[in-house]
C-alpha cells in the first residue's frame, strides 16, 4: 500500500487536470464529441461493449478495484494505484494494454476468466492511438436521479367514477396501475377528527361534531374544510409548530444568552394569520426586515466556530434545506459525496450575506481564495455579486421565488402532503434530490400551488377535498415499510407534542391563562369600517417643540406609567412611529416597526398587571437625511371583567428621555432626566393614513374572548420535550413517529400531565352529569370523535362506579388519553 501511494497521487493530479481541461474548454469538449462521430472507430458501439464485458464488473459504478474507475474519461485515463491506464494518442504507454495482453498472471487483467480476443485488443489499441475519444456526457455509472428544475404542467388522467379532484385522478391512476384497491372512505366523525387535527391542531368539539354528522348537505365536507381553514387564529396556532421547526424559531434556546439569536415569532404568526402567500414569506425570510431577520442571521455561539458553521454558512444551509429540501451540509465542508452539490456552491450561497469577501475553507482548512455570491440554479439567472448584501439578498429572494423555480414549489407542497398524508411524495421530505413516488402528483401540486398565488391554504384545501385524503389509513406492519415504497393511502400520524397537550387542555379546560409567544391572536383588518375615533396624539421630544424640527437619527425613550383598576379581560395596543419604534410593556418587547404607514399591534392581556401599576416604554427613532417631522402614536385600551374600559394614549402625560434602555428594554439604572413629551401637530398625511386603521384595529384587538392558550405558543417544558418537541438549534422537518419508553414513563407519572388531569378532573367531577355514562359518552365523543361501544361503556362504568369522584374521573381521563386512538391522527 505504502509503496503505491505516491503513484496514486500522481494519478489523481492527472485526473484533476484533465477535468479542468474538459470543463474549461467547450471547444475541446466539442472536438472530442465530433471525433467520436466521424472517426473510424465508434466509441459507443465498438469500444463500450468491450469495456463493459471485461472491465465493468470491477471498475465502474461504485466499484473501483485498485483505485481504478472508468466511469468517465478523466477517471479512465487517470488509472488507479499503479498509474495512468492510457496515454491518449500513444498506445505504447499506459497500463491498460499491458494488462490485457501480458501473460504475467500477477499483472494480467481481467484477473480471471477468458483473455480478450486479439480483435478486441486491436480495437482498443486503435481507439487509444486515435486519442481515446469519449462520447460527451457518457458514463458507465448508473444515471443518478436529477430532479427537474422547471415546473411541469401535468396532463391529468381521465376522471374515473366521478372522482374529479385532480389529486384523485392521479392517485386513482397510480392505484390502478399498481393493481391496488382504493382504501375505503372515512366516516363523517373520523373525517372531522382528522381534518380538524390536521388543519387547526384541535379535537372537534362534541357539539360541532354532532352538527356536522346531522348535516344532510351533500357538500358538507367541502364546507367543513373551508370553514376549518377559515379559523385564522387556530390555523396560525397550529401551523406555527410546523414553521417554528422548519425555520428553527423558538422562544428560548441556545444563542439567546449572548444575544446571538433573534426570534421571528411576531412576524411569523402574523404571516400565518394573514395567510401570506408563501413566495412572499420566503422573500421576507431571505431578504428580511428586522422582524424576520432571525432566520437568515442564524445562531451565533460565543467563541470561534468551525468554518462549516459560520453564520454565513448557516444561511446557505438553512435556505437550501428550508426552501429547496436540499442538504447543503456536506457541501459546506467539501464537495458532496452524496449528491451534486459542490463546496463552491455552498460558499456562493453563503457569500450572499457575507459583508466581506468570503474565504473558502475545505474541511476547515483555508483554500487561499474567496468565493463570490452566487446561487444554485444559474439557468434561472445569477446574482450580481458586486452589489451590496441587501441587494444580493433581494436578488436571491427573487431567484428562489422565480416562477420557473419548480423546486421551490415542489418542496413546500411535498411538506404539506407529508403533514396531511403521513408520508411525503418525496420522503424523507428534505431529500428533494431523490425521486418522488409520483412525479405527476408532485408536479401537479406544485404548479397548481403557484397558479393559485402560492396560497398554502389552497393546497391544503385541495388535498383535504380529495377522496384519498378522506379514506382510511393504511395499516402498516413493520415489514411493508421499505425503500421500495408503493403508495396505498394515507398513513396515521402521531399527535405532535403540541397537539397532544392542546387536546388534553381542550378536554380538561386546564390551559394556562398566558402564553409565552409575543403574538397578536386576532386577524386584524385595518380597512374594516368602525365608528371608533383614536384618542392618541402624536408626541416627541423637546426637539419637536414649536419652531423646531427633530434631527435625523434622533433616538429617544418615551414612557408612560399607569395603574389598571380591576381584573383585565382584554387589552390591546396599536402603535406607529415616524420612523421607527420598539414597544416594551412592563419590560417585555411587544412590538416593533420600521414603516410608519403600517400600524403595529400588540395583545396585552397577559403582560399587563391587573389591579397594579404598569409601564409602557417606547424607543423611538427619527430617520431621514436631514431634520424632519417625527412622532409617536400609541393607543392602548383595557377592558376589565366588570365591563369597564380604560384607555391609555400617547399625550402630554407621557415623558421622554435621551437615555436609551439596552435591547432588553430594562434599564440597569432608571434615568432621572425624564421630561414631559411634546405634542406634535399631526401632519395631514399621518392622520389620513393612521387614524382610521388604528381605531379599527384597536376595536378588533379587544373584541370577543381570548382564545384558549395553545402549546405552540409556550416555551417547551419537560412534557413537550419528552413528547418530541425539538430543541430548535437545527431545522427539523420531521419529528419521530414513535413513542419511546421514556415518553411513556413521563405520560404515566410526569407531574405536568398529572397536574393537568388533576385540574381537569376537579372541574369535570363537579359538573352535573345525568349519569356516569353521560360523562363517558361526552368524553369519548370529545377524545375519539365517536360514541363508546356498549362494551367500552360498561368497562368505563365499572371503573367509575355509581357516582363520579375526582379520582375516578382523573383515571378515566388518563386511560382515554393514553389510548393509541387518542394519540394518533388516523
Amino acid at each position: 500500500m505504502l509503496k503505491k501511494t505516491p503513484r496514486r497521487k500522481n494519478g489523481r493530479t492527472f485526473a484533476v487536470s484533465q477535468d479542468i481541461i474538459v470543463m474549461r474548454s467547450g471547444l475541446l469538449l466539442l472536438f472530442i464529441a465530433s471525433t467520436s462521430a466521424f472517426a473510424a472507430l465508434d466509441f459507443s458501439h465498438q469500444v463500450v461493449p468491450i469495456l463493459r464485458t471485461h472491465c465493468a464488473e470491477c471498475h465502474t459504478g461504485s466499484k473501483k478495484k485498485g483505485g481504478f474507475s472508468m466511469n468517465d474519461r478523466a477517471a479512465f485515463i487517470a488509472g488507479g494505484e499503479n498509474g495512468a491506464a492510457v496515454v491518449a494518442g500513444d498506445a505504447t504507454k499506459g497500463l491498460l494494454l499491458e494488462a490485457i495482453t501480458t501473460s504475467d498472471e500477477d499483472k494480467q487483467m481481467p484477473p480471471k476468466g477468458k483473455r480478450l480476443p486479439a480483435a478486441e485488443v486491436a480495437i482498443l489499441k486503435a481507439w487509444i492511438n486515435e486519442g481515446a475519444s469519449w462520447d460527451a456526457g457518457f458514463t458507465f455509472k448508473k444515471a443518478s436521479y436529477e430532479p427537474p428544475l422547471k415546473p411541469r404542467v401535468v396532463e391529468l388522467p381521465p376522471v374515473v367514477e366521478g372522482r374529479a379532484n385532480p389529486v384523485d385522478r392521479i392517485v386513482d391512476a397510480h392505484l390502478l396501475k399498481n393493481n391496488l384497491e382504493r382504501p375505503s372512505t372515512l366516516t363523517d366523525e373520523a373525517f372531522m377528527r382528522r381534518l380538524t387535527l390536521d388543519l387547526v391542531g384541535l379535537l372537534p368539539e362534541p357539539v360541532a361534531l354532532a352538527a356536522f354528522v346531522a348535516d344532510k348537505a351533500p357538500d358538507k365536507r367541502a364546507k367543513l374544510i373551508k370553514a376549518t381553514l377559515g379559523k385564522d387564529v387556530a390555523y396560525a396556532d397550529h401551523w406555527l409548530t410546523f414553521w417554528n421547526d422548519l425555520l428553527r424559531n423558538d422562544y428560548t434556546g441556545t444563542g439567546f444568552i449572548t444575544g446571538g439569536r433573534k426570534q421571528i415569532t411576531t412576524w411569523l404568526y402574523k404571516s400565518l394569520v394573514d395567510n401570506k402567500p408563501y413566495n412572499q414569506m420566503a422573500r421576507e425570510l431571505i431578504a428580511p426586515t428586522p422582524e424576520s431577520a432571525g432566520f437568515s442571521e442564524g445562531i451565533k455561539w460565543r467563541g470561534t466556530v468551525s468554518a462549516g458553521q459560520t453564520t454565513e454558512i448557516q444561511f446557505a444551509q438553512s435556505v437550501s434545506q428550508t426552501f429547496l429540501g436540499i442538504n447543503m451540509k456536506c457541501a459546506s465542508c467539501h464537495d458532496s459525496f452524496i449528491d451534486r452539490w459542490k463546496l463552491d456552491e455552498a460558499y456562493g450561497l453563503a457569500a450572499v450575506v457575507a459583508e466581506k469577501p468570503l474565504e473558502v475553507f475545505r474541511c476547515d482548512k483555508p483554500e487561499g481564495r474567496t468565493q463570490k455570491a452566487s446561487w444554485l440554479f444559474p439557468e434561472l439567472g445569477q446574482i450580481d455579486a458586486s452589489k451590496p448584501v441587501a441587494s444580493r439578498q433581494q436578488q436571491l429572494a427573487a431567484l428562489m421565488t422565480h416562477p420557473q423555480n419548480g423546486r421551490f414549489t415542489r418542496t413546500i407542497v411535498n411538506r404539506l402532503w407529508h403533514r396531511l398524508m403521513g408520508r411525503g411524495i418525496v420522503h424523507p421530505v428534505d431529500t428533494m434530490q431523490t425521486e418522488p413516488w409520483s412525479a405527476d402528483l408532485l408536479d401537479f401540486l406544485a404548479v397548481d400551488f403557484a397558479e393559485n398565488g402560492y396560497d398554502l391554504k389552497h393546497t391544503m384545501e385541495l388535498v383535504c377535498a380529495s377522496q384519498i385524503y378522506q379514506s382510511k389509513v393504511q395499516v402498516v406492519s413493520k415489514d411493508t415499510d421499505s425503500p421500495t415504497f408503493v403508495f396505498r393511502g394515507p398513513r396515521s400520524k402521531r399527535l405532535t407534542a403540541e397537539q397532544f397537550v392542546d387536546a388534553v387542555w381542550q378536554i380538561t379546560s386546564a390551559a394556562p391563562a398566558r402564553v409565552d409567544a409575543v403574538v397578536v391572536r386576532s386577524k386584524l383588518d385595518p380597512k374594516a369600517p368602525s365608528d371608533e375615533k383614536p384618542a392618541a396624539q402624536w408626541i416627541w421630544s423637546a426637539s419637536a417643540a414649536e419652531g423646531k424640527v427633530p434631527a435625523a437619527g434622533e433616538t429617544i425613550a418615551l414612557r408612560r406609567k399607569f395603574s389598571v383598576k380591576g381584573e383585565i379581560r382584554r387589552a390591546g395596543a396599536v402603535i406607529t412611529c415616524d420612523n421607527e419604534y420598539t414597544l416594551y410593556v412592563n419590560g417585555r418587547q411587544m412590538s416593533s416597526g420600521t414603516n410608519w404607514e403600517s400600524v403595529g399591534s400588540a395583545s396585552l392581556e397577559t403582560v399587563l398587571k391587573s389591579n397594579g401599576s404598569n409601564e409602557l416604554l417606547v424607543v423611538a427613532k427619527n430617520a431621514g437625511n436631514g431634520p424632519n417631522a417625527a412622532g409617536l402614536f400609541v393607543d392602548v385600551r383595557i377592558v376589565t371583567t366588570d365591563g369597564k374600559e380604560q384607555q391609555i394614549s400617547s399625550d402630554a402625560a407621557w415623558e421622554w428621555s435621551p437615555t436609551l434602555p439596552p435591547a432588553t428594554g430594562k434599564y440597569k439604572t432608571t434615568p432621572n432626566n425624564w421630561k414631559p413629551a411634546t405634542i406634535v401637530a399631526a401632519l395631514p398625511v399621518w392622520s389620513g393614513k393612521i387614524n382610521a386603521p388604528a381605531a379599527s384595529m384597536l376595536a378588533q384587538l379587544i373584541a370577543g374572548d381570548i382564545p384558549m392558550a395553545r402549546d405552540s405558543l409556550m416555551k417547551s417544558d419537560f412534557l413537550t420535550r419528552t413528547l418530541g418537541r425539538p430543541n430548535r438549534d437545527q431545522i427539523v422537518s420531521m419529528r419521530p413517529n414513535d413513542l419511546g419508553t421514556l415518553e411513556a414513563i413521563d405520560l404515566a407519572n410526569g407531574p405536568i400531565l398529572a397536574g393537568i388531569l388533576d385540574a381537569g378532573a376537579k372541574k369535570l367531577a363537579s359538573q352535573t352529569w345525568a349519569s356516569p355514562e353521560a360523562f363517558v359518552e361526552w368524553l369519548y365523543r370529545f377524545a375519539f370523535s365517536r360514541s363508546p361501544t356498549p362494551e367500552e361503556l360498561a368497562a368505563a362504568r365499572e371503573a367509575l362506579g355509581a357516582t363520579l369522584s375526582e379520582e375516578g374521573v382523573q383515571d378515566m381521563l388518563w386511560a382515554v388519553c393514553m389510548q393509541p386512538e387518542f394519540q394518533l391522527v388516523r
Partner: protein, 481 residues
C-alpha cells in the same frame, strides 16, 4: 477493523447485535431517522465493560489542585501569583509514583485501582463558554452542529441498548435543566440528538427525589395505580377498531407503555430510592447532591443501568467554575467528592462489578491561576479581579480556564490498575507534554471499552455521523489491562 487489537477479535453476541439493529433500522426508515451504516456494524471490539459511570466535574476542575499537583505555595499576602502552581500540597497515594492533592486522601487510598491520565487536553474554541466545551466533551463535536449530536450516553443507548430491559439505558443525575444559567446550552447536548428522545437521558436532578420519577404519580396509592392501568388495558381491549391493532405505530406505542408500566411497578424501581440504602452506607455518600448521586449511580448500575452520568452540577460561577475564591471552593469540592467517589469504587469492587464497570472522572477543561485558554489562544480573560500578588484569600485559587492540559481518572472497565499515563509540563504553561490524549481519543477509549468501535457510524440526512469525530478517534491501548 477496530483500532484496538487486544485479543483475538471476538464479536460479542454479534448476531443479536445485528438483529437489534435490523429491527431498529426498519422502524427508523419511515421517519427518516438515522440508520446504522453497513460499515458501522462491522468489527465491534470485545467489550471490557458493561456499564459506564461518568463522574462529571462540571465547571472546569483544576488539575493542579486535584490529580496533578505542582509547585505548592501556601496563602501568604504578597506572594507573587506567578510563583504559585498548586494551592494544595501533594500527598502520597496507594501507588508509589502517583501523588495527588491534599483533601483527596480517601481517593488516594484507592488509586491502586485507577488509571490516571494527566495529559488530557481540549480544543481551543476561542472565547470560553463552559456549556460549549461541555457540549464538545459530551458529544465529541463542537457546537454548533448541522445535526443534533447525540450525547455519549445516547450512543451507548442506541448501539448497546439497556442491560436490563426495564431500566432506562441513559440516566443523568444532578444537573438541573431549568432555572439555572446557560440551561438552554446545557440542554442542547443533554439529549439523544438525532437518535431521538428514546435514547435521550432520564434526568434525575435531585437524587433524593429520584424515586418519584419511577413511582406512580404523587398521591396515587399503588392499588389505584394498578386499577388505572387495568382500566387502560380494558378500554384498549374493547376498542372496536380491530383492523388497526396490527398497525406498527400502535404496536410500538403499546410496547413503550408496557415498558413504562413494568418499570413503574417492578422491583427494579427500588434502585432509584436511595433512602432504602443501609444507614451507614448512606451516610458515607451523603456529602452533597453529588455524593448522593454516586450512591444512586451505584444502585442503578447494580440494577442494570447502561450509562449513568453524575455531575457536581454546572451552574455559572458555582462549584468548579471558580472565578474567585478558588482555593476555598476547592476545599469544599474535595469534601464533596472524596468519600463518595472512594465508596463508589469500593462498593463496586465488593460486589464484583468494578471489572465490568468503567468509572470516568472528567471535566470540560482544567484551570490555571494565570493562563486563559492555552498558549496561542485568543480566549479573553474572564477573571473579575486582576492582581499580581496575593492580597486576600479570594485571590488564592485557579481562576482561569485552561484547555492545554488536564487530568482524567478511570477505574475498572478493563483499564489498568495503579497506572499513570501522560504528563504535563512542570512549569507554566502546564500543557500536556507527554502522550497527549484528545477528547476524540478519550471517547474512542471509553467506547472501545464498552464494545463500540470508534468508527461506528449512523447515516443521518444521508451523511455518515460517527461516534468519534469523523470516525477518527483511536483508543489509547496502553490504558487497557
Amino acid at each position: 477493523m477496530s483500532t484496538l487489537d487486544l485479543h483475538q477479535p471476538e464479536y460479542f453476541a454479534r448476531r443479536d447485535f445485528m438483529k437489534k439493529l435490523a429491527a431498529a433500522t426498519a422502524a427508523a426508515w419511515s421517519a427518516g431517522e438515522p440508520r446504522l451504516m453497513a460499515a458501522g456494524a462491522a468489527a465491534q471490539p470485545r467489550a471490557t465493560a458493561d456499564s459506564c459511570i461518568l463522574l462529571w466535574m462540571a465547571g472546569g476542575m483544576a488539575a493542579p489542585d486535584t490529580w496533578d499537583p505542582k509547585r505548592y505555595l501556601p496563602f501568604k499576602v504578597g506572594t507573587p501569583i506567578k510563583d504559585i502552581l498548586s494551592t494544595f500540597p501533594a500527598i502520597d497515594t496507594a501507588v508509589d509514583n502517583i501523588k495527588i492533592c491534599q483533601g483527596l486522601e480517601n481517593i488516594a487510598s484507592v488509586m491502586d485501582r485507577a488509571t490516571l491520565i494527566r495529559s488530557h487536553y481540549q480544543a481551543d474554541l476561542g472565547s470560553i463558554l463552559h456549556s460549549r466545551h461541555q457540549y464538545h466533551w459530551h458529544t465529541g463535536y463542537v457546537p454548533p452542529q448541522t445535526v443534533a449530536a447525540p450525547h455519549i450516553g445516547a450512543w451507548m443507548s442506541k448501539v448497546l441498548g439497556p442491560r436490563n430491559p426495564v431500566m432506562p439505558a441513559f440516566i443523568n443525575i444532578g444537573q438541573r435543566l431549568e432555572g439555572v444559567g446557560e440551561n438552554e446550552e446545557v440542554k442542547a447536548f443533554t439529549t439523544g440528538g438525532f437518535f431521538g428522545n428514546e435514547h435521550g437521558p432520564m434526568n434525575l436532578p435531585y437524587p433524593e427525589e429520584a424515586a418519584q420519577a419511577v413511582r406512580p404519580p404523587k398521591g396515587m396509592e399503588p392499588g389505584r395505580f394498578e386499577s388505572r392501568e387495568r382500566l387502560f388495558r380494558k378500554l384498549l381491549d374493547k376498542n372496536p377498531n380491530r383492523e388497526l391493532m396490527s398497525d406498527y405505530q400502535q404496536e410500538s406505542m403499546l410496547r413503550s407503555m408496557d415498558n413504562a408500566y413494568r418499570l413503574l411497578s417492578s422491583k427494579d424501581r427500588a434502585a432509584f430510592d436511595i433512602t432504602l440504602e443501609p444507614k451507614d452506607s448512606y451516610a458515607k455518600y451523603n456529602t452533597s447532591r453529588f455524593g448522593q448521586g454516586c450512591l444512586l449511580a451505584r444502585r442503578l448500575v447494580e440494577s442494570g443501568a447502561r450509562f449513568v452520568e453524575v455531575t457536581t452540577e454546572y451552574v455559572p460561577f458555582l462549584n468548579y467554575d471558580t472565578h474567585a475564591n478558588g482555593h476555598t471552593t476547592m476545599e469544599r469540592m474535595h469534601t464533596e467528592i472524596d468519600v463518595p467517589v472512594t465508596q463508589l469504587i469500593l462498593d463496586l469492587e465488593k460486589r464484583g462489578m468494578l471489572d465490568r464497570t468503567l468509572v470516568v472522572i472528567a471535566s470540560e477543561f482544567s484551570r490555571d491561576m494565570i493562563m486563559e485558554g492555552k498558549p496561542g489562544s485568543a480566549a479573553n480573560d474572564q477573571t473579575t479581579f486582576k492582581v499580581e500578588t496575593l492580597q486576600e484569600m479570594k485571590h488564592y485559587g485557579q481562576h482561569r480556564h485552561f484547555t492545554g492540559g488536564g487530568s482524567v481518572v478511570m477505574f475498572g472497565g478493563g483499564m489498568k490498575k495503579g497506572f499513570l499515563y501522560g504528563s504535563t509540563a512542570d512549569e507554566r504553561p502546564l500543557i500536556a507534554v507527554n502522550n497527549p490524549v484528545s477528547i476524540c481519543d478519550l471517547h474512542a477509549t471509553i467506547m472501545t471499552s464498552m464494545g463500540i468501535s470508534p468508527k461506528t457510524q449512523f447515516e443521518v440526512e444521508q451523511r455518515p455521523f460517527y461516534v468519534t469525530e469523523d470516525g477518527k478517534g483511536v483508543a489509547v491501548k496502553e490504558l487497557f489491562s
